[in-house]
């Protein structure tokens, strides 16, 4: 083992250029991966923020008794999917309209608006199916005139989220593949550059394992260092964006650690694949 570690150190000391380039390539590949990861993370967070506004509005018939309303609010609060139920008076509705549409700036008489209940759903129950289901149950109250839940809007929101997720995963996988290819390439080149040495080692009696191990460790270490560098770069990019453009979120420490470890594993994999294939031919 000590012998192997010495071999690894020797290899790095002897081809500092190739080593540096391997690390930089791995770092940049993972950095690209990290940027897309950040994009997906932040789009997802932003969408979750919007999703919180998914709500069902039940318009009440004129002259409904306050007691009926209270009873209904209690009932509805008890639905397992429901997070909160609020009553909205005509005045509150008008105030909101005045804030949202400029035409209502000069309107102050709220009597033409109906009172309503606003129902917010719990997280995890905001998909179009559940919303529709809850809507139908609310519709059974006799004093409920009409229920609206913005079918189109809810559906569109979910579409965007799914598209962003799919695009993120697709691009992420693409970049991971590119990273593996580039790393494999770099290591293949190292192996090629050392193919004469490797064949001499074998001719004086070195086993495949003896020849391979330093490459594996080397690949793993370079992957780790590359991963760390990528983390630093990604963090820097995030810091720049956060401080100059818009507030963004960064990965959890756990995920960041997994990413660095992933770098190591990609390096190991690239080494294993390209050394293994090459040794068979030397």
């Amino acid at each position: 083992m000590r012998l192997t570690l010495r071999e690894v150190m020797l290899g790095m000391r002897r081809s500092p250029l190739l080593s540096t380039l391997s690390v930089v390539t791995i770092a940049f590949s993972l950095f690209a991966f990290g940027l897309f990861g950040l994009l997906v993370l932040n789009v997802d967070r932003a969408l979750r923020g919007v999703e919180e506004h998914v709500e069902i509005v039940a318009f009440l018939a004129d002259g409904t008794l306050p007691e009926s309303i209270s009873a209904a609010m209690g009932d509805i609060s008890a639905f397992p999917e429901v997070a909160r139920v609020d009553q909205v008076s005509p005045e509150q509705a008008l105030a909101r309209a005045r804030a949202e549409l400029p035409e209502f700036q000069d309107v102050f008489d709220a009597s033409f608006l109906p009172p309503s209940l606003e129902i917010r759903l719990k997280e995890g129950h905001r998909d179009p199916g559940t919303v529709k289901d809850v809507t139908q149950r609310i519709q059974t109250y006799p004093f409920v005139d009409d229920v609206r839940y913005g079918e189109d809007w809810v559906k569109k929101l979910y579409d965007i989220r799914n598209i962003a997720g799919a695009a993120g995963i697709a691009l992420g996988l693409l970049f991971a593949a590119v990273a593996v290819i580039i790393i494999g390439t770099t290591i293949r080149m190292t192996v090629l550059a050392r193919s004469r040495e490797i064949s001499i080692m074998r001719l004086v009696g070195a086993t495949d394992g003896f020849v391979r191990l330093p490459f594996l460790i080397d690949g793993f270490l370079k992957g780790l260092v590359g991963g760390l560098l990528a983390l630093l770069l990604t963090w820097g990019a995030n810091w720049l964006i956060s401080h100059n453009l818009i507030q963004t979120f960064f990965f959890d420490p756990g995920i960041a650690f997994l990413g660095v470890l992933g770098g190591g594993i990609i390096g190991l994999l690239g080494s294993a694949l390209s050394v293994g294939r090459h040794l068979r031919r030397v």
Binding site: E197, R202, L203
Partner: protein, 235 residues
């Protein structure tokens, strides 16, 4: 130790390099391998160290048939053979010392003994002062002597040397040859390809001569073929 039976070697693009070569070298024997340039000497040595396998016929080294040898067995066989290559094949990124030590390290020899053994051998080939030089910092003859030291360092049971004195002056040649004789005297079989006819003539060792891929002369056959015919126990 070495047994060739009806060995044919054909290279992909250049055709037959060896044609029906049969001979054996016994344990502890010393044999010269001579013949003009391109005769097939290096090819014979490459077959012995399993760098190549025969196209037809059998090569047995220390009892194992080289043709079907599992990949994992090859290093084990090579560790018992010392090899001096015609083109030296030193590891470019290691010093003379490290090159010699490497042949010991791959065998898993205990680390403590290595430096002493390495420096003893470098002294024997006259390179005591060049231990920390890299191959490209050595003259042709110095590189050749590092290669010889590497071949001898782990006390092989068989030494295979391809033109080991081609870049050496007469004095160095005598020194290296004395080393080979000593190791042979200690029980190692030696097969040495050479163009140095002086060396061959001055000694009474067995001579195997090849020409255009064929075995054309074997001094052991001449004196009754004792070594190759009489004994039929596997070497």
């Amino acid at each position: 130790m070495i047994r060739f039976s009806h060995v044919v070697k054909e290279y992909p693009r250049t055709g037959l390099a060896l044609n029906d070569v049969t001979f054996r070298v016994n344990k502890g024997e010393f044999a010269f391998l001579t013949g003009p340039s391109g005769a097939g000497k290096s090819t014979i040595l490459r077959l012995v160290i399993v760098e190549e396998t025969p196209t037809a016929g059998e090569v047995r080294v220390s009892g194992s048939l080289t043709s079907g040898l599992p990949r994992a067995e090859i290093p084990r066989l090579r560790r018992r053979i010392g090899v001096v290559f015609q083109d030296f094949r030193l590891l470019e990124d290691r010093t003379a010392e490290e090159n010699v030590a490497f042949a010991l390290e791959v065998t898993g020899a205990p680390r403590e003994g290595i430096p002493a053994r390495v420096s003893r051998l470098l002294t024997q080939v006259g390179l005591a002062s060049k231990g920390t030089s890299y191959p490209k910092e050595l003259s042709g003859g110095e590189q050749q002597r590092v290669a010889i030291a590497r071949a001898l360092v782990n006390d092989p049971v068989l030494l295979v040397a391809d033109e080991p004195t081609g870049n050496l002056d007469d004095r160095a040649t005598r020194g290296v040859f004395q080393l080979l004789r000593d190791i042979n005297a200690a029980g190692t079989a030696v097969l040495m390809a050479t163009h140095n006819l002086d060396l061959v003539k001055r000694n009474t060792y067995r001579v195997i001569e090849v020409n255009r891929g064929q075995l054309v002369f074997d001094s052991a056959e001449g004196d009754g073929g004792a070594a190759t015919v009489t004994s039929s126990t596997p070497t």
